[in-house]
Amino acid sequence: MAMRFKTVTSPFVLLDTSVGLVMRRVLYAMLPGIAALAWFFGWGVLVNLVIATIMALAAEAALLAARGKPLALYLGDYSAVVTAWLLAVSLPPLAPWWLTTLGILFAIVVAKHLYGGLGYNPFNPAMVGYVVLLVSFPREMSTWLIPHGIDQAHAMTLLETLQAIFSGVLPARFAPDALTGATSLDILRTKLGLGLTVTEVRNSPVFGIVAGHGWEWAALGFLVGGLWLVYIRAAAWQIPSGMLGGLAVIATVFYLIDPQHYAPPWFHLWSGAAIYGAFFIATDPVTASATPRGRLIYGVGIGILVYIIRAFGGYPDGVAFAVLLMNIAAPTIDLYTRPRVFGERRA
């Protein structure tokens, strides 16, 4: 009797990788940046992360169950957790719990599952959630804490933080306007609007060495994590280089034209969500361009849009809008940037 064997198709060996592994690596890479944020902005950063994670997993599980997908398999891909973290990190540290929840629900239910779930969503879910919140609740979305190190009195304990997030009650010692501590981009924007020059604005204590105090350290953390992602090839290098390169070039051009009205390029690169967005938001592969050249173009497009929105648009930062706009363009970019197939004549 001849032996009988299973028949499947080649290849029979696979690299030890999985969607879950890739997603987990993204989470690890966010840790340094998150640590810096938590140091400067307190417990709220971590509480937001926890709320977002729980809500995202619950929403994902419910939607998967409703769509008849295997729960364990899809929850194990960690994509919902990544979405949750990406959104939570973008929120103000004392964002009320319902704000976080709403953003997550929008991201997971509408932006992800209504479009077909993992791999089928044309827009970056975390950024859809963020933009919905920013447009609907502009006040809540712009009340940032003053970073640690500027005003010691504003350090909050975990209990105070939880109270603020869940019931909206601030500690009694806080001045009524304690939460208007705007980001450096906000300040630059308003002050420039008042006719001050960039150099004058930069003397404000909110500014640190290159950009916003505290922010610059978070940016450094995200840069470290992001470079690691690129190094292990979990993120395509073309997107962050394109985005930061594009942003730097256009910022330099305007800075050279009029240095008193336009912030220097290093300030733009180091401010707001530029680095975070370049390495963690724009690199979401599902919604980005998929060809090597296309990714570069996609990144440059985001960089330029970020600058335009920052300098001329209605919002202080524009990473979310820029990413969503380029999401729309991604399929077209792909179409025109197909690589030269082996054996095809060089054009």
Partner: protein, 394 residues
């Protein structure tokens, strides 16, 4: 010997590409119409896949004979340069071939051991930096590539008169004594495995070919063919178990590894949606089915399986189209012929009418036309049947 006689002899000896494609070698030795003389004759001594060692072995042990085979190839193809590409993890094979090539002017070139450098197109690119056009032949760029084992059989065929009756097969994996065997064609896999001491415990799959591109056999009662370069009795430890398939996240890992510079995720998308024309727009047929994309895919999508499926569907459609076209042509030809015959009959009738008064002439010749006519009548009927069935299907 005249080149065409030599090619005939080679063809009759059954010399084919032993790398696995089993393309008749004699065809590749005919340059007529493509180029005057070859720039590069490439001998492929880069193993197609990991785990295979049959080419390594033949180069180590039969280098002289391989070089004798190369002489024949060089005689027929008149190349400017003969390059022998060997992966750099085979120092003994390189040394043996270098020694055998001494004084011949053939160049032994180590190439990096990086799958799929053993693919003919990839090796050509590595050695000459030329890319074979995707709609054409390698001779269009003045290159022809043969496996080293093929060169050996060529020598046996031409110089010893021995047709291809055996080949070297790597038997490896979960067997007691993995080894290379010079096996007669037709030997059952089971016999080779027995020769190697039988299976060890835990054999899960039997693969003909390598782990990347091979075919899983359902039984070991299969015979060795000229395409059997390797028999891999694979245990669970060596192979990846079947993993659940996730949706494509467009991560692009497949794009980074594709040696043909394709966009595997787009091919997959279109193949899955059965948009075969779009898949062809993305150069489906440039895919060499190397399996690199499936290997790296974090979503564990059996990409190659989709490509094979799409290719088969497209071929089936083409064949169907050709058949329909043939049926249409046949039908048209039949109608024309019927019309012609009718006219001929009428013309004959008109001619015969006045001749009726003299029937006495009818002799042996007169008996012939009715038979021919009957044959002619019978033939259209059978052709009609074909044409009609063709029409029904088309």
């Amino acid at each position: 010997m005249h080149p065409s006689d030599l090619r005939n002899a080679i063809r009759n000896a059954g010399v084919v590409g032993l790398g696995g494609a089993v393309f008749p070698s004699a065809v590749k030795m005919n340059l007529s119409g493509h180029c005057e003389r070859l720039d590069h004759l490439i001998l492929n001594g880069a193993e197609c896949e990991p785990w295979m060692t049959c080419d390594d072995l033949i180069m180590r042990e039969r280098a002289e004979e391989i070089v004798a085979g190369i002489h024949i190839l060089a005689h027929l193809l008149n190349p400017q340069e003969v390059l022998i590409g060997i992966e750099d993890d085979k120092p003994e094979a390189i040394a043996a071939m270098r020694a055998a090539c001494a004084g011949t002017g053939y160049a032994v070139r180590p190439v990096p051991t990086r799958y799929p450098s053993g693919g003919a197109k990839q090796l050509t690119k590595l050695l000459t930096n030329k890319e074979a056009p995707f709609k054409g032949r390698s001779t269009d760029i003045g290159v022809q590539c043969f496996n080293v084992a093929t060169a050996y059989t060529l020598h046996r065929a031409v110089n010893c008169g021995e047709p291809v009756i055996s080949r070297i097969v790597t038997v490896t994996g979960h067997v007691a004594r993995p080894q290379n065997i010079d096996a007669l064609l037709g030997t059952a896999f089971a016999d080779l495995i027995a020769q190697c001491g039988g299976y060890l415990d835990g054999v899960e799959r039997l693969i003909m070919g390598g782990p990347m591109m091979g075919f899983a056999m359902h039984t070991d009662a299969m015979p060795v063919t000229k395409a059997t370069n390797c028999i891999l009795a694979a245990g669970l430890g060596e192979l990846t178990p079947e993993l659940p398939v996730m949706p494509c996240t467009r991560c692009g890992d497949c794009v980074d590894v594709c040696p043909a510079n394709l966009l595997p995720q787009q091919l997959y998308w279109h193949a899955r949606a059965k948009e075969f024309d779009k898949a062809q727009d993305y150069h489906l047929f440039s895919c060499i089915e190397c399996g690199c994309c499936s290997y790296v895919c974090p979503s564990h999508i059996p990409l190659v399986q989709y490509y094979r499926y799409a290719k088969n569907e497209i071929w089936a459609q083409e064949k169907e189209k050709q058949r329909a076209e043939l049926a249409r042509q046949r039908h048209q030809a039949r109608m024309e012929r019927l019309e012609r015959e009718k006219q001929e009959r009428e013309a004959k009738l008109r001619q015969k009418a006045p001749a009726r008064p003299e029937p006495a002439i009818a002799g042996p010749e007169a008996g012939k036309p009715p038979i021919e006519a009957a044959i002619a009548r019978a033939r259209p009927r059978s052709e009609t049947a074909v044409a009609e069935s063709g029409e029904r299907n088309g």
